[in-house]
């Protein structure tokens, strides 16, 4: 058992005859980890399992060494921002945070301080005295986020946390996630908005129909997709020369001049051989290479290759 990680050991969860997740074994280290998958793939089930809202039918889960069926210990270290857009009636934003901080066992002064700190982080200080019932969708999302972070957890589980946020708030929230990840927190985010996942995540867990189909750093996951050639965009001063040299190689499946005429988009079965070849061409033909960048080492491509679905867009 790893005390500093979130571990799933052969975990399955069924809802009657319906599969939630099946035979999931994972070890999630600190940093930002994104759960990616289409609707019904098991993202929320996985999050509900790790926070004890539901129990596994089989297998064992530990969050920093704590089993999720001991909430009195788990939620000293963990916070969960769920997808449920519902709040106790008749409470203001501040009362909501303060009230549940008291349920955490905090004394008045500490609960008050922590509530205001969380409200400041999510930019809701001004709206704190207003009833949550009068909040917009984006404000409700932010107050939920504040409630999940107000006790300063080291494990943050966030189910579609960017839903309903305006572009400015999205950017700010993404920066927050990155900052927390860099600080060594476990930040587990589910999202179907792939380009945002790319920006947020250190690692991804790809889910499909209740199964984990891939996990790890995005580049690592991508390199495991052997059947799909890797795409690399090489920007250089003479793309035609480069393309002709590339066609001679067995591992190059396709090489085409980029639309702006200043680069070559290469599809290769062996990226290492390609990079060695580029070095040779530079030396032999005097080519000036401006940049070499993977063109499909992003979540969107991996998602398409592994799951065969487009995923979501903004």
């Amino acid at each position: 058992m790893t005390n500093g990680a979130i571990t799933f050991d052969n975990v399955s969860r069924f809802y009657g005859d319906v599969l939630g997740v099946n035979r999931v074994s994972l070890s999630i280290p600190p940093g930002v980890t994104s759960l990616v998958g289409p609707n019904g793939s098991g993202k929320t089930t996985l999050m509900n399992l790790m926070t004890g809202l539901i129990r596994p039918t089989r297998g064992e889960i530990r969050v920093l060494g704590i089993p999720p069926d001991r909430p009195e210990e788990l939620f000293r270290h963990a916070g969960y921002c769920t997808q449920f857009d519902a709040f106790p009636k008749g409470l203001t934003g501040w009362e909501f945070l303060y009230g549940f901080l008291r349920v955490h066992g905090k004394e008045h002064a500490e609960a008050d301080r922590l509530a205001w700190e969380a409200l400041e982080i999510v930019g809701m200080k001004g709206a704190a005295p207003r009833l949550i019932g009068a909040y917009s969708k984006g404000m409700r999302q932010r107050i939920k986020l504040a409630q999940s972070i107000c006790h300063k957890p080291s494990v943050l589980v966030l189910d579609e946390p960017l839903n309903g946020l305006d572009p400015m708030a999205r950017a700010e929230t993404i920066d927050l996630f990155r900052k927390w990840g860099e600080q060594g927190l476990h930040v587990i985010v589910s999202s179907h908005i792939l380009h945002e996942v790319d920006r947020i995540s250190d690692r991804v867990i790809l889910l499909s129909h209740g199964y984990v189909v891939a996990e790890g750093q995005i580049q690592g996951v991508r390199s495991e997709v052997k059947e799909h050639p890797i795409q690399v965009l090489v920007r250089c001063d003479r793309p035609g020369v480069l393309a002709s040299r590339l066609f001679e190689q067995d591992h190059v499946v396709e090489a085409k001049i980029d639309q702006d005429g200043r680069g070559v988009l290469v599809r290769t079965l062996d990226a290492d051989k390609l990079y060695l070849l580029l070095n040779r061409v530079v030396l032999e033909a005097g080519l000036e290479i401006e940049s070499v960048a993977p063109a499909d080492e992003d979540v969107h491509s991996v998602y398409q290759y592994l799951i065969g679905s487009e995923g979501g867009t903004v």
Binding site: L53, P71, E72, F75, P88, F100, V103, H104, S148
Partner: protein, 283 residues
């Protein structure tokens, strides 16, 4: 777990958490839309007894104080024990967990570092305080209002005879009824999707209590409560032919017995709460 380990538990911390739950539940019990029914249930007998006293004072009904006290005993048995307190407890306690399921807000409690047992205790105490505030106060007020038109005679009965003792016993019975029924309906709200089904079952069971065999009569809350009231009301008319004659339990047995049953039901609720999952889609 041994007693030493139990004593070492952070009881003050648990009390703080339970108190925080009570504070959050306060609004749900007093200021929610469903609380309107509680106000109606609690105020209706008060208005009825108040009107009785007003009319009697103006017109003079020729009742004796003893007769008015028997009228109140009937009101207490029918309007309070069988109606207001019973239905009020269904509304308050069955919704403590079920209501939050329907409103999709229970997860906020489940995502806090609070033992589920403490959560059950907090919600029960919150419900009990509300039920007592509504119904025990209402029952006490009605007792004072019913014979109010007797003026000095009632004052003499209240202060120099056993009036205060009777008032205390009615209030005690109301509190015990809230405690007993409250625990039953709290558990029912956790076990069943529709708490009205067990509520109807308990209502029928309590209603037919006088006609049950002696052993079964003892397996109900109303049996112990009735024995504690100052004036017992037996079924009248032809129904009295079917009533069974059972020696009522003494006070020293009835009160701790009821509290023990309440504790057992609450322990069952706490065990159930530890296994409870939040999956609103299924609810």
């Amino acid at each position: 777990m041994n007693w030493y380990a139990v004593a070492q538990l952070p009881w003050r911390f648990y009390a703080l958490q339970a108190l925080a739950v009570v504070r959050l539940e306060w609004r749900r019990n007093f200021f929610s839309r469903r609380a309107v029914w509680l106000y109606v249930l609690a105020l209706a007998p008060v208005l009825l007894t108040g009107a009785h006293s007003l009319v009697a004072a103006q017109r003079g009904w020729g009742h004796s104080l003893g007769e008015d006290l028997r009228i109140y005993a009937g009101i207490f048995h029918l309007a309070y024990l069988r109606m207001a307190i019973f239905l009020g407890c269904v509304v308050i306690f069955a919704n403590q967990f079920r209501g939050e399921f329907l409103e999709r807000t229970l997860h906020y409690y489940f995502l806090a570092p609070i033992r589920r047992e403490v959560l059950v205790a907090g919600k029960y105490i919150a419900g009990l305080l509300a039920a007592v505030a509504f119904f025990a106060v209402s029952a006490g007020l009605s007792f004072l209002l019913t014979p109010l038109h007797f003026g000095a005679q009632f004052q003499e009965f209240l202060l120099r005879q056993d009036g205060l003792e009777q008032l205390g016993r009615y209030v005690l019975v109301a509190v015990l009824a809230c405690a007993g029924y409250g625990a039953v309906f709290l558990l029912a709200g956790m076990l069943l999707r529709n708490p009205m089904i067990p509520a109807a079952g308990v209502m029928v069971w309590e209603g037919i209590n006088p006609f049950l065999p002696s052993l079964l009569r003892k397996c109900s809350i109303i049996f112990y409560l009735k024995s504690l009231t100052p004036i017992e009301i037996a079924p009248g008319g032809p129904l009295s032919l079917f009533a069974t004659n059972v020696e009522p339990p003494p006070v020293w047995l009835a009160v701790p017995g009821l509290l023990l049953v309440t504790m057992l039901v609450l322990v069952t609720a706490a065990i159930r709460a530890r296994r409870l999952e939040v999956s609103y889609g299924d609810s």
